[in-house]
Symmetry: C2
Subunit: 240 residues, 2 copies
Amino acid sequence: MIKVTSYKSSNLHTYGLGATVTMEYLLKDRDAVCGVILHPAFRSEETIEKIRNICGDGIPVSTEEKPFNILSKKDNCYVICVIEKKETHILDGNHMVLVRPSNCGNLGTIARSCLGFGVKDIAIVDRTSADPFDPRTIRASMGALASVRVEVFEDFEAYTKRFPSNNLYPFMLDGSSSLQKTSIAKPFSLIMGNEATGLDPSFKDIGKPVRIDHSSEIDSLNITIAASIGLYEACREHAE
Amino acid sequence: MIKVTSYKSSNLHTYGLGATVTMEYLLKDRDAVCGVILHPAFRSEETIEKIRNICGDGIPVSTEEKPFNILSKKDNCYVICVIEKKETHILDGNHMVLVRPSNCGNLGTIARSCLGFGVKDIAIVDRTSADPFDPRTIRASMGALASVRVEVFEDFEAYTKRFPSNNLYPFMLDGSSSLQKTSIAKPFSLIMGNEATGLDPSFKDIGKPVRIDHSSEIDSLNITIAASIGLYEACREHAE
């Protein structure tokens, strides 16, 4: 069994915390799972049997307490899966593009919404962004990260060079076009900025900048909300 | 100055953590603010001056470290405001109705979206729900809770009895009507269930149950996402 250490982004492995996340990885990305650890106090026989069945002889399952103390002090967590980190490349099609997201929880929540609306390719722009392999990202995604492709790009140009025919929609507070009056053409790239600073003003000259109208009583919508409303609108059926 | 203790729901006061939240309360609900505490290491002279100006002679401002150790061990927080808890009553009009929400962060994030879409009245159904006055709720709302009305109802009937003419839209995974094909009539009540269990099946017979269509690859959207997409759709201009 792999030795569990507290997570660092330089590690070759990451961890899925919780039974839901573990089951998602076992069902959707089994090849990436190197092992499953059960807490000695875990009593859900049904889940344990399911896990053992899927793991079979190929994936070691152990029962020990220490990894939980290392990885999950506070959470109500009884199952951990050890996941091999694999570089993926995103494919042609509709994309979510996150420029310098800083919060792992937000990144995971957005990945879950992406999967929910059928957008399975997520581009992250630049290496200063939150780590898509961080156990907090994986947990917030509820395991959705087992089913989407995520690729980190050095800068925005590197992204557009690879996908020159995507229609670009930067989401900006002062976007020139109201989202609900914008028809989103496929293949689309919904582009979201950093939680605190948004997108750089230079994105005003890129594609079709859109805004989500809201009252002046708030500064902005939460990034996960803005991204999900963008997905909802982009994926809406227009033949009404 | 009020003695700061760790927060319990039985307290008569609660706390706004951070400069953003404090400024929101000072600007939008000044009467509720009983005091402001600055961290000795807080160096933003501009914010300190703004706070002192608004507080004037009426609201005490102190500088001390201890309350930060009690209330905010990990957060990057340099300003605390002490807030008097006041019961409010929601008014006629459009409502967000949350049935047994369990997570303070979600409750706060939804309050921020409500304010963003102009829905200023939030009903919470039953006393087992997350505490709308919890400092974590207030922080997640980014101070939006200073600008909305929140009322807790004993049960769902108590709510409908007070607002018999509201059009009820329970959000359910198996709702009979797709949100994007539903025209939401005002005054509306968007009704959301608990994070883990959703709404009780009995809500199927109440008003017009709606679903947000998503792929079968996820079990459900995050509650804050579902509530915000509901608000976005309910508030959209239909004269396109």
